[in-house]
Symmetry: C2
Subunit: 442 residues, 2 copies
């Protein structure tokens, strides 16, 4: 979507008003996420109440917080009162505890109750993203009864397309879709339409990500959520699932790039925030890289004798890092989409070991001649042997470490690419100098 | 989902049959994706027709192809005939042209027509993933008329929850949801219910990914697709959008890991296939890394004089690579979710330059003392100055290169992390030795 807004000066009220009138909700929200806090609030103030709410709902929680800070309390109350309970819970998670408390106290008792319930579930749990406003049916209802209940109770529900069927104890006994109701004769009973086999559901404390993946794999529009006593307490809708998966991707990618995920859009984050998300990893990795200095110190004599060996250090480290990252990213992805389990480790290691040997052999053969021509055959042999060994070793480590990390309860994406590269650097240097000493007879 | 199937031997028919009966559709599909082609087909043969179809539809296109190869032609015909047209188009894309031709010729004329239409659109386009089976309404209809039409025509449609409203020329004039129809009195006219402002839609030749992102951002269940004459030709549903985004993410991650995406699940890909997706990049990168050998050769004399300088090469290269990857992955992600445009390049570069300087200064201060204690103050100064400069430079390059790549029409994820690392390695060495020569007075 090309935005027509480049050059809009949020300080010029007439221009801003004209732009807001002529621009779609999503485009306004996208543009706002790149503005300063005061400008965001100004734009929301200038919009009619209904549109302001629509734009507000399309913003990230961190942007919403900034908007609220710049508004008067009656507008704040209006916006927060009319949010969906799950979106509101996400926002209250973001703001300081004092602000959250104040916002909660201004809600109507009904909305406050719904929000407090969601905030009681652990972070990252299915309970946090579910909607407590759903329409449930009884199996004894006819289609006509069911449609009447949907008309009566459906206005506030987040979705009426997936209708859980419950018993007297609010236990889930089936699910029926609005599609089935609409396409069936009015006197058919819900119990004859509802799905009871393979009844997909999650529990409030389950991981959000597992719920999102289930929604995707089973092509669901909404997934029932049960409490510890197997009672229905809410539904997770497909739009929430998409958001959970987006956030998860962003987190994985940040981990692979050795930083922590940003809690707000890139352009809205300050330089200090950007630096903060990266500083810790960079420090950890440079300390770990201290190991490479030690290894090289140990081989300093060899290095003094044949300085030529130093010339290949970046190339060999780079190749090891690349092979390791290739294996790690593929394995991380296969685990994320559920294609790999820990029990597969021996098979994966055996596959990757062969892949590493194949790739290493290819590079070694390709590299032998040029190195021999420019330097000599002995150096050519050292480099070729080292490439094969490092590729083999890096591919093996790159595939196994993420699996071991996940098994140990650590996010594989965070532990992997950068740490593997540093680990392969240090061990690769040992391999290099051992081979060099042997071949060159030092 | 823990699978109870480890150790199932597909050769033992009774055990397999019992397992198939006791296992859910999705779990069967997940397990099948890890089996050999012949075993997959065997499992599908043992299932009753309806369940076989459900499992078949839950498989990836590459798995579906393997299943079809192992089945007799009447079962093949049954499965392919009953697939959704968009899933079928995806499958026919995957199989060899000859097989696709044969499968198409066995379809009923109606299904063949639908599929041929989809296959006429360019790869990766919105037209390829849309469903041509939708229910459209007229604005003059009442709610009662509209519901009657939904009942009449809805059985074959992929969704009846989003109902496009069209005029005599099949041009889109609005969209109404089944929710609105069900919640409204029967005599209200569709024109009074339908959304006409901010009417989200895409064109058949638009990028699938843009369509998927629009569905996510606007929380849609289905998105109307128009042809070049602005006529409605289909809808893209939210489940297809999720698949498109998954595939896109897998592709990005493969690029960041310097390999090409696998066309099938990890465990189903052969070792040779795994090696093939990685060989080209590894070769390109090692050739590019040849540059580092040249740079070091140029400074060989300096290196011979102060061998100590060689000890820090892996640490300095690693730190440059890490800073560059951090910046690159954050920028790639921000571009992917539409937060950044090319016009932002100067602002991004200015931000990242400051981030790089801050991080570099932190590491330089932290590193000066240990290096000075173990070696001497001059070496300490060289290393500290190099770290600041390399962090600054790597962060700048890491953020700018993906943006330039995207502008040039190259996938930023593919061009970035690994290439940046190699580029930063070579330039970083020049920086290192220039600083060393100056400080040490060589």
């Amino acid at each position: 979507v090309p935005s027509p807004t480049d050059g809009v000066d949020a300080g010029d009220l007439d221009e801003l008003r004209a732009w807001l009138t002529g621009t779609g909700t999503l485009d306004i929200a996208e543009e706002l996420s790149r503005w300063q806090a005061a400008e965001k609030a100004l734009a929301i103030r200038l919009l009619p109440r209904d549109r302001a709410l629509a734009v507000f709902e399309a913003l990230d929680a961190s942007d919403q917080q900034e908007v609220l800070e710049g508004l008067q309390s009656d507008r704040v109350r209006h916006l927060v009162e009319h949010m969906d309970p799950d979106d509101r819970a996400r926002l209250l998670d973001e703001v300081p505890a004092k602000v959250a408390h104040r916002l909660l106290s201004q809600l109507s008792p009904h909305e406050r109750g719904l929000t407090n319930e969601l905030l009681g579930y652990p972070p990252e749990s299915a309970g946090r993203v579910m909607s407590p406003e759903y329409v449930n049916l009884r199996q004894s209802m006819t289609v006509a009864d069911a449609l009447a209940k949907v008309r009566r109770a459906g206005r506030d529900a987040e979705t009426i397309y997936t209708l859980p069927v419950t018993d007297d104890q609010r236990r889930l006994v089936g699910v029926v879709s609005l599609r089935q109701l609409v396409l069936s004769p009015p006197d058919v009973r819900v119990e004859h339409l509802m799905v009871t086999d393979e009844l997909h559901h999650v529990h409030v404390t389950d991981d959000q990500e597992d719920a999102a993946r289930l929604i995707q794999e089973a092509d669901l529009l909404a997934l029932p959520v049960l409490d510890s006593e197997e009672r229905l307490v809410g539904v997770i809708t497909v739009d929430d699932a998409m958001e959970v998966m987006e956030a998860e991707y962003t987190e994985d990618l940040a981990g692979i790039g050795a930083s922590m995920p940003l809690s707000r859009p890139y352009m809205a984050a300050s330089v200090a925030e950007l630096a903060r998300t990266r500083a810790l990893w960079l420090l950890v990795l440079i300390i770990a890289a201290g190991l490479t200095v030690n290894v090289l110190q140990f081989f300093e004599e060899t290095l003094e004798t044949v300085v030529t060996l130093a010339l290949f250090i970046p190339l060999l480290m780079g190749t090891g890092g690349n092979s390791g990252s290739q294996a790690a990213t593929v394995v991380i992805r296969a685990m994320a989409v559920g294609e790999l389990r820990f029990a597969d480790l021996p098979r994966v290691a055996w596959r990757e070991a062969r892949v590493g040997l194949m790739l290493g052999a290819m590079l070694a053969v390709a590299g032998f001649l040029p190195v021999t021509l420019i330097f000599d055959a002995e150096i050519g042999l050292v480099i070729s042997l080292t490439i094969v060994t490092i590729c083999f070793w890096a591919t093996l480590a790159g595939s196994a470490l993420p699996m071991v990390a996940k098994r140990a309860g650590v996010d594989p994406a965070v532990v992997s690419a950068p740490l593997i590269t540093t680990f392969v650097d240090a061990t690769g240097l040992i391999i290099y100098f051992m081979i060099a000493r042997t071949v060159l007879g030092l």
